[in-house]
């Protein structure tokens, strides 16, 4: 009987999640009226709860532990709080982003509960704290107009924190990532990413002359180099790409991007020849089975999991994801793929892509270049991180040991991603303020405002993907 429940819920979850993913992209379709959009988002919430319920039915069936039921209700309450608060306080926030955030958090809860109840409970508590932050930040983004003026404070905080980690950090899996403060282990680079984006936006939103670019590049290079020295290659790569993207968009000069990419590639080749830990990763990527006893072990276990799970997955508790080292952090995608199936995993990836598109969409909609660059920078950080982690665990690219935002276990990663999402929400709301201002001036000049236009403005409280298509 237990098997049957696990099997049925497995297919059910896959189906529901596919529907959810479809709705994500259906929401991007051009001209939908407010009612239809609202319908999509309500359906998403319904699907989200159903997926979560199915998963916990299976979890309860296997574990037969009444505490799981309790934990289930706690999780439902948390998600309801997030959804309700956003609706109450930020009626104009992007509902797609809120939904996706909740969906990703729930995917994380489901898999973490299955992998390690301890870690799931800890993740739950951290999420609670992060939610509070997430509810304050949109207001701050709206009110704190001096954020553009703190350029060198961002640079100083960024570089000093990274240096502190490089000198005093503790080493895990060969890289220095975290410092322990008052009993809490913290990964500063997760937060510095955001501060770094603010720094670059400050530097480049007004002036993009050569001197300005040089100064910005010098600071960015310092960030990247410190991370390389700390052997946090994934982190270094994220900073590097984010900077190049922001530089390119701000200056509109493709050769900055191309030149940066070229010098980055040369640096990578040099690093490959100098550092053994870089070579080791490349070998483990090219032919992991040949070095399965050593450096290829992680990636092989990950591929065994993904491959054996196949398209439909083994079902919750039917696989052995715990065989993958650091499965809760860097390899959660493989665990999901093994037990919930390749289709589910692909849908998860697509939900992340739809978040990324929303970030970029906000960037395009904003009028103030500073905010545009912020949204773009955060979007790049998020998108590239998703690409690195999923690409790494599937052997598409060499593994860099990076978490899947909102899904993986880890306080720093979770909180920093929640902050990023909240900033985007703040910008999304700000954009509409801007829009109203714009409309008012337009009304004054054009005077005539047809009913159709008025309706159109109301409908803009949704998504406008026109600039993307």
């Amino acid at each position: 009987m237990t098997n049957l429940i696990v099997e049925i819920t497995k297919y059910l979850m896959m189906f529901l999640f596919a529907l959810y993913t479809y709705e994500c992209f259906a929401a991007f379709r051009g001209k939908l009226d407010a009612e239809k959009k609202s319908g999509i988002f309500n359906r998403q919430i319904f699907l989200m709860y159903l997926i979560h319920l199915s998963a916990f039915l299976a979890i309860y069936a296997v574990t037969d532990d009444i505490l799981m039921v309790l934990f289930y209700f706690f999780q439902v309450v948390l998600i309801s709080i997030i959804l309700t608060c956003y609706q109450m306080f930020y009626g104009r926030a992007s509902r797609l982003v809120v939904n996706n955030m909740c969906m990703l958090i729930l995917c994380g809860f489901i898999m973490l509960t299955r992998l390690s109840v301890d870690k799931a409970v800890r993740q739950y508590v951290i999420t609670l704290a992060a939610v509070v932050l997430g509810l304050i930040i949109p207001v701050l983004v709206r009110k704190l107009r001096f954020l553009k003026k703190l350029t060198w404070l961002y640079a100083a905080v960024g570089i000093l924190s990274l240096l502190a980690v490089a000198f005093f950090g503790s080493t895990s899996y060969g890289a220095k990532l975290s410092v322990t403060i008052a009993g809490f282990s913290l990964q500063p680079s997760e937060f510095i990413k955001i501060i770094f984006v603010f720094f670059v936006a400050c530097m480049l939103h007004e002036k993009t002359d050569f001197g300005q670019v040089c100064a910005a590049t010098a600071v960015a290079a310092a960030h990247v180099l410190i991370l390389v020295v700390s052997k946090d290659l994934g982190g270094a790569l994220i900073f590097f790409i984010t900077y190049l993207v922001m530089l390119y968009v701000a200056t509109r000069k493709l050769f900055y991007f191309a030149g940066g990419l070229l010098s980055g590639s040369i640096a990578a080749v040099i690093a490959y020849n100098i550092f053994s830990h870089v070579r080791v990763r490349v070998v483990a990527w090219q032919d992991p089975l040949s070095v399965i006893e050593d450096e290829g072990y992680q990636i092989c276990q990950s591929l065994f999991a993904i491959g054996t799970g196949g398209w439909f997955g083994m079902g919750l508790y039917q696989g052995t994801p715990n065989k993958i080292p650091v499965v809760e952090e860097d390899f959660i995608f493989s665990a999901i793929s093994e037990e919930l199936g390749g289709i589910f995993a692909l849908c998860l990836l697509m939900v992340c892509v739809s978040c990324f598109l929303m970030f970029l969409n906000v960037a395009m909609q904003m009028k103030d270049q500073f905010y545009k660059l912020i949204a773009l920078g955060l979007g790049t950080v998020y998108g590239f991180q998703v690409f690195l982690t999923v690409g790494g665990v599937t052997k598409f690219i060499p593994s860099t040991g990076i978490t899947l935002p909102l899904v993986s276990y880890g306080g720093s990663s979770l909180i920093s991603t929640m902050i990023m999402f909240s900033i985007i929400q703040g910008l999304y709301i700000l954009r509409q303020d801007e829009g109203e201002l714009h409309d008012k001036t337009k009304q004054n000049t054009a005077k005539q405002d047809s009913p159709r236009q008025r309706r159109k403005r109301r409908d803009e409280d949704g998504i406008d993907i026109e600039d993307l298509s």
């Binding site: 089975l289 993904i306 491959g307 054996t308 196949g310 892509v353 000049t445």
Partner: protein
Amino acid sequence: MKTESTSKTSRKSGKQKNRKNREFAVIAYAFLALFFCLMGYFTWFQFTESEKFINSPYNKRQDLFARSVIRGEIRAADGTVLADTVTDSEGNETRRYPYGRIFSHVVGYSENGRSGIESQANFSLLRSNIFYGEKALSEIQGEKSPGDNVTTTLSYELQLTAFDALGSYRGAVVVLEPSTGKILAMVSKPDFDPNTIGADWENLVSDENKDAVLLNRATQGLYPPGSTFKIISTLAYIHEHPDYESYTYHCTGEHTVGNQTIHCYNNRRHGEQNLKESFANSCNSSYASLGLDLDLDRFSELCDSLLFNTALPTTSESSKSSFVLTNGAGAGTVMGTAIGQGKTLVTPFHMALITSAIANDGVLMRPYVIDHVTDADGGMVEQMKPEEYKSLLSPEDAGILKDYMRAVVENGTGEKLKSDAYTAYGKTGSAEFSSTSKASHSWFVGYAHRDGAADIAVSVIVEDSGVGSEYAVPIAREIFDAYYKQ
């Protein structure tokens, strides 16, 4: 805003916005392209690449399938069941091997780890491709589904013949079909009874047990090739000397350079020998002499191209043959190497592959032992097809070697293979393996042909017996006879 086509100002602002956002769109599309590649890769991985990882013996997840699937059968090419699983009334499963020791190494075992076909086909055996509804039904009833059955290329009759012919000797026999790469038989002795391997395990793997029973000598045993290696020395000489047909050597029963002497078997004086006669009579002195003529770098290259020092194209456990000869090696080493002594080591399986390439006009077919996989109801799940692996030698070279190998049977050391039923080709060998005794392993590699039937290639080694013509050749004869009597 772009829809408001009536308003000039907004159209203008729309354009501005578009221009302003061009770079954003570029980035968005660039990332979308990255993600599409990633999704495409993931799909490709699931459909194609994943098999390599799923089937890896390191993948312990395969065992998870055993919870819901009864391990399938392994069958000979004619359908004879070589391994099956029976479930008693209490639900205990036992793996049975009706022919026990006869197929011990090639079929392998699935307790205390896995080997042979049990290991190679593990994934197929633990998969159930029966109709989905049926599977769901057994799931509901809490029953296991029957796993897929694996039919091999093994010929029950040839395996039995080879097993009996090798008798109580240690050694190995490999039989291949050169035109397809099918493995028809593979025997290794000493053997074990897979039915009782659980109980015998401690004894088999204990330090006191020096027999290395679990080692599949056919694919993993490394032996000096002895005179069978003259096939390769001949090829090396022909490549370097287009006038090889005018080669002559006067054999006095031994060949001495400095203080190093190579003897012919029993110090027999072969007298005046051309290359073909040297080959047919396996004249050591002649080969020692021509070996000294060879360019050692080219010799090494030739051996590498014939799959020495490299993993053989097979998924079963196999050892790499080794050939080491560097420029500047002493005369004794060079002479020894040319007659198949020296440091050269080969597996019987490797020699069988070289022989089948010769029989198949130089082309080596990728050897395989799993022919097809069917579900419990007989529906085809997967059918393997013969596949060319590599051209090991040119058709001309193959032709010359065929001619020489025929001479061995017609008037050389392989005369016992003369038959009206087929035409046999081959090379015998006696490999000395100990510096202190005259004991030797007896070798034969060769193939047989009859119009209208497929050729078969064999590789036979009989450990610690004597000359090839007396021990290994008769085994090959029995196999050829059994195969062509049909």
